[in-house]
Amino acid sequence: MNRREFTQAMLAAGAAIPFGITRAAGQTRGGTLNTIIQPEPPLLVTAFNQQQPTLTLGGKIYENLKYGADLKPMPGMAQSWEISPDGLTYTFKLFPNITFHDGKPMTSADVVFSCMKVLTETHPRARQNFARVASAEAPDPLTVVFKLKQPFAPFLGCFDCTSAPIVPKHIYEGTDYRKNPLNDKAIGTGPFKLKEWVRGSHVHLVRHEGYYLKDQPYLDEIIYRIIPDSASRALALENGTVQLAQWTDVEFFDVQRFKAQKNLEVTTKGYEYFAPHQWLEMNNRIAPMNDKRFRQAVMHLIDRDALAKRVYFGSAKVATGPISSKTKFYDGKVKRYDYSIDKAKALLDEMGLKPDTNGKRAEIKYIVPPYGESYQRAGEFFRQSFARVGIDLVLVGTDMAGWAEKVGNWDYEMTQNLLYQLGDPALGVSRTYVSSNIKKGILFSNTEGYSNPEVDRLFDEAAVTLDEAKRLELYSKVQQILVEDVPVAWTLELEYPIIYDKAFKNIVSTGIGSHETFGSVYKS
């Protein structure tokens, strides 16, 4: 599909929306959805905090465009959009009659203010995205025009509810955004509004009666219960106290038993936009990790099928390279590293890392990420894997702050890391590998310190190339180089579950899953 056809398709989709999202037979209004939020978010305004729980909960309060499982943008607050032939001008047409939770109308001025003033000040990802915008205008209340400095292929992918939430200009203009006293009220335009937040207990959302889509939301209310202990969360799901669990609410080892519970549906759909991609991160600045052969040996010595089965209990798929198979531009024809202790040993021997009289080649400190029990188990798995080739992996425990400081400041040898792919390599993949993103003190940058001018060039070119076929070609080349160089040892594409009571419908309707607005969710 060329750009013109794509634009036409989008316009057609937009035109169809007012009819397509009306209430269909069987969809009833009413009901309460009880679910889990953990850990408790510090605040609910997604413009100022992008922790996962904030985004899950804030996704009901704030909104923007939606993305399907195929990662194509779907109408959200904008009913249609048009891209100029040179790829520099994006014109969005908003739905009429959108109102904020305080009753004031939402217009194109709010969109321009949110994207260009608030988010560029408070939101790291949005700051990078909207730095590409030369000007943003609101020619009429329902039209927004973004003019880019240069083409940016995934610009339409920058408007999900987690990257570009729209906040009210009449509340934030001229104030210190982060300290605005109305942050406690979390006033957005989403189908649900905040009724009550009892800290440490629950967050209670109720229907936004002025929501612009006819009949939506179908549910009366959503209650997010704060349950810090994973065993207690599993029990709450089991006995029906909550009817929905998402992300890491339930440990991987508990997922299987919920598949056997008849009233529950277990799916791994709804994470396509995020496509969580996990790897063993090696500090490329330090020996022996600074030798490509060592990193290739690491790819051979980990039995990643076993890792997926034994540690993640089948809720994962083996990753073959830097781009997830669930996202765009994945190249499945890259070099494959099979599980082979012999090949790993041969590579280590070749680089001169030979075993001593005790059979030990090296000792490496591995910082266990503090993101839950599966990371601890994965660490144990890696320790055993490395031991088979004579490398002693010493597991070091820490908490979030300690891990962030060590990894961000390059003060580590090996650890595990996971990043979301955000629907396009230019948004979620290149940041880990390009030299321009080697920034000390900054987590989730190119912390491993890999640098390859050709990789930089290919990523840069692919980001500004509008032709999809050409982009595919560029990303294929970059994948081949990276898979050969192994800057990090890709392990798994994690498949987080969404587990919900079958009485609830439309829980997963897009590629952003539980971050969705839930306006179309109903109880049968």
Binding site: T32, P39, E40, P42, L43, N49, Q50, Q51, Q52, P124, R125, R127, Q128, R178, K179, N183, D184, V198, R199, G200, S201, H202, H204, E221, I223, R225, I226, I227, P228, D229, A231, S232, L235, A236, E238, N239, T241, T398, D399, M400, A401, G402, W403, A404, E405, K406, G408, L419, Y420, K439, G441, I442, L443, F444, S445
Partner: protein, 333 residues
């Protein structure tokens, strides 16, 4: 009855301890500050780590907002200045005054810990006294084994087992939380609802302390029973119950009060685990979350309050000693 002289001595002792208390609080506040800052990482890094995104501007903005861009000495002086003014500061992470956060969570924790403490003390000392008085009997053996089992049972495990039996299997009790959410109840129904939610957390938290007090009381009773003054009381012809109540219990309680005073502060430590397992919205969880998030103002505020509580409890323990055992007031052994 306490003599007037004794009352004056207790008053002087209390005054002297209050003066000490202020000095100790300032030392503790300084120590807390240094200790908290010694842990690696800062709140800006945690926030960036949890957001999956970061850039230099975000870190710089957050550090400036939190006051972390200033030298340590300036931060410490500013903190101590606030402590003197009884200002616990502001949590930039939660966007709220620390005192509000603590006051919001304190009632739930007090309800949980004070109830558990009182029950553990009452039941533990009663069982311990009964076991001590019947030393060597079947009753003694049963109580001893029971207290050993309770003492050895991890708090979180007991909590989960209670949930499994009484919530999941039998469906008698709510599995977690402080109250039923989203229902309209009369004040009486609301109180009963909270009481129902309290049963399992309180039982879990009280179990280990109950075991400790029972074992302590048992051995204390056995020891006191062999003292000369008990033999004298018997020789004077006093009845069994009056010897037990008037002589034995009062003396046997001294070590129990000592340990109870020391452990009252530790109860909050236990509350962290219980509040996590039962999703109880209290101070323990606030502490745990603040620690993980390096929310310095909240952490320092809680530490300071808890330090004061422990000091006050020790002061109360000293006073109670003197009420139980007048010899301590006169300095007699």
């Amino acid at each position: 009855m306490i003599r007037l002289g004794s009352a004056a001595t207790i008053g002087l002792m209390a005054l002297s301890r209050i003066v000490q208390l202020v000095a100790v609080i300032l030392v503790i506040a300084t120590f807390n500050f240094v200790l908290v800052r010694a842990a690696p990482g800062d709140p800006a890094q945690v926030m960036a780590g949890q957001s999956g995104a970061s850039d230099p501007k975000l870190l710089e903005d957050l550090r400036k907002e939190y006051g972390l861009d200033k030298p340590y000495a300036v931060q410490l002086a500013s903190y101590l200045g606030r402590v003197v003014r009884l200002d616990l500061g502001y949590s930039y992470r939660q966007r709220r005054a620390v005192v509000d956060l603590i006051l919001e969570r304190l009632p739930a924790t007090l309800l949980l810990t004070v109830t558990a403490f009182c029950l553990a003390l009452l039941i533990g000392t009663t069982l311990g006294a009964l076991a001590g008085l019947a030393a060597g009997s079947v009753l003694d053996t049963v109580f001893t084994v029971l207290s050993l089992v309770l003492y050895a049972t991890p708090v979180f495990w007991l909590g989960l087992m209670l949930v499994l039996v009484f919530s999941v299997t039998l469906g008698w009790l709510p599995p977690f939380g402080y109250e039923t959410i989203n229902v309209k109840l009369s004040p009486l129904e609301h109180a009963l609802d909270i009481a129902k939610h309290m049963i399992m957390p309180v039982t879990s938290l009280a179990a280990i302390y109950l075991a400790i007090y029972a074992r302590l009381m048992r051995s204390s009773i056995i020891e006191v029973a062999q003292q000369d003054f008990i033999k004298t009381a018997r020789a004077k012809g006093l009845s069994g119950p009056s010897i037990v109540v008037g002589h034995m219990l009062r003396n046997a309680l001294v070590p129990v009060v000592t340990v109870a005073g020391m452990q009252a502060g530790a109860l909050v430590g236990g509350a962290v685990v219980i509040e996590t397992v039962f999703a109880w919205p209290g101070l323990g969880r606030l502490t745990f979350d603040a620690l993980l998030q390096r929310d310095y103002p909240v952490l320092l505020g809680i530490f300071l309050i808890l330090s004061i509580v422990v000091i006050v409890l020790n002061l109360l323990t000293d006073l109670i000693y003197r009420l139980i055992d007048p010899r301590m007031t006169t300095g007699a052994a």
